[in-house]
Amino acid sequence: MTTVADTSGPESSIILGSESSGSDSRSRKKSANGDRSAPPRREMPPSSEFVQEFTKCQRRLYLHILSQVGSPVDAEEILQETNVIIWKKYQQFVPGSHFLAWVCQISHYEILKHRERRRKDRHQFSSEFVSAVARESRQMQDELEHRRGIMLECIENLRSADRELIKNRYATGENGKSVAAKFGRPVNAVYQSLSRIRRTLLDCISRRIAAESH
């Protein structure tokens, strides 16, 4: 854990500094652009371990962020911004240390910045809530990962109509409303179906976990 603080600290503060002088996250992207337009430094590409770890952490990192901000769109945006930083700092990553912990720490700063930008949004969670959820989410990471594996089995067990609905609802760019329009069903009915299916899935996961432990 000390590794994390050491590696992410200084540079984050620089970025925060530049932000307070009025530029938004895009300008950071641009400066990243600038770096990239120079020929890549071939002598030090990221290690393949780094690439693998990076690849591997993406979903969990996304879910970690999502639990703190609630909105998938925001979560994705923060994920992207976090990735920019991760990639910039790859040299600071100490091989063998806890990669997910490291990136979660980076995401922490990005979430803070995002919240700062959105501070007028009354739908935002309180910072108390966010830090509590962040803590809990980190602690439950392994368990949640396990649950997700089981979710996949549970999806297979859904009735095909339900599976179809879920698939449509979660297809890129869709939401409950658009799916209702597509199926020609009342929006509320679709909401109800979706909530029933999500509960079914949660129940199924819990049941299976209970069964496993016996």
Binding site: R26, S27, K29, N33, G184
Partner: protein, 422 residues
Amino acid sequence: MSLIIPKGMSRRHFLNHVATGVATFPALQFLSHLQANAQQVKKNQKACILMWMGGGPPTIDIWDLKPGSKNGGEFKPISTAGDLQISEHMPETAKVMNELSVVRSMSTREADHGRGRYFMHTSYVPNPTVVHPTFGSIASYELGEQRKDLEIPAFVSVGGPSESSGFLGMTNAPFVVSSNGQIQNASMGGVTEQRLNQRLTMLAEIESSFIKSKRGETPLSHKEVYSKAVNLMTSPQMEAFKVDQEKPEVKEAYGDNSFGQGLLLARRLVETGVPFVEVNMGGWDLHSGVFNALRTNQLPQLDRGIAALTNDLKQRGLLEHTVLVWMGEFARTPRINQDVGRDHWANSWSVMVGGGGLKGGQAIGETDADGTSVVGKSYVPGDIWSTVAHALGIPLDKVYTSKNGRPMKITNGGTAIAELIG
């Protein structure tokens, strides 16, 4: 069959008669429309000309410049007759920008050529079970069939294939011609009308029994397309394709290149009552050497063409009824790559829309200082086509049913852009 409506007492009518098995047919009746349909086309018929920029144009160098940004590139913005600035290499267009508006907040996700083409033309992303009609086919279906005196195809694509008519069928497919307007094989050669008549009688006999053989819709569609083709080759409106008849100074004004001549052809077609013309301009896939290509080749042609078309339509009192749309499948990266090129980019880019009673001279929406993302509300092709549909008088709430029974909104539920429809 529901898609085809007889247009006046033309050959389509004739073919329907033939299909019932009438063996002989007076030649005169067949071609009598020549005089009957020589009436003046009503001036206030609505139309749309789509300028299609195949390959994906760098709108950051044309409509939404970013001076002072690292992404800004080599060009400077200049003021225009409208309330916006555009590229210094578009000086003639700048003079008519009071008639045209730029939507600077397109965000369209599809940055693959094929998918982008499909999305921008149809408002839908590709789907394996249904082929959505390109908007030109929708215009053909909605407006073409109302125009009883229109004998040439209601959707013409100049210098490129456009996209499929999808479930609206081959009768609403684009009729593809080259920019010189020459139509291959349109002349009947030495065959007399009487013989053509009898040939068509025979053809109808063979076709109708194959149509009845329960092999789906293609056999019927074949017959419908033939009636369109016969319509075309016997129509005096074929004149509309003869760009050569224009005065040299007019041709000169549009530019001596296929895009310019295509636009001139489009104007002739619109004048004749064709509701939708797509004019293709390629050469935009500029992964390298973007500024040089724009400066020396692409922008001079584009600038001249747009300005000439706008002025010409205006002079003829057609601009008010003719919507102009300029777009490609996507635009190009704000970032300039190591080959001084720009790559595919769909996240934040511009489309130009004007004429047809839409409000000109505006920049709608904006991108951030580096052009990499849209600030505020962004638009998708469905919104552009909704705006066009509004201007053309096509009801937006119309819902088609595709062959597999799926209801399909005309522009995928897009909404007309308020600032444009004013």
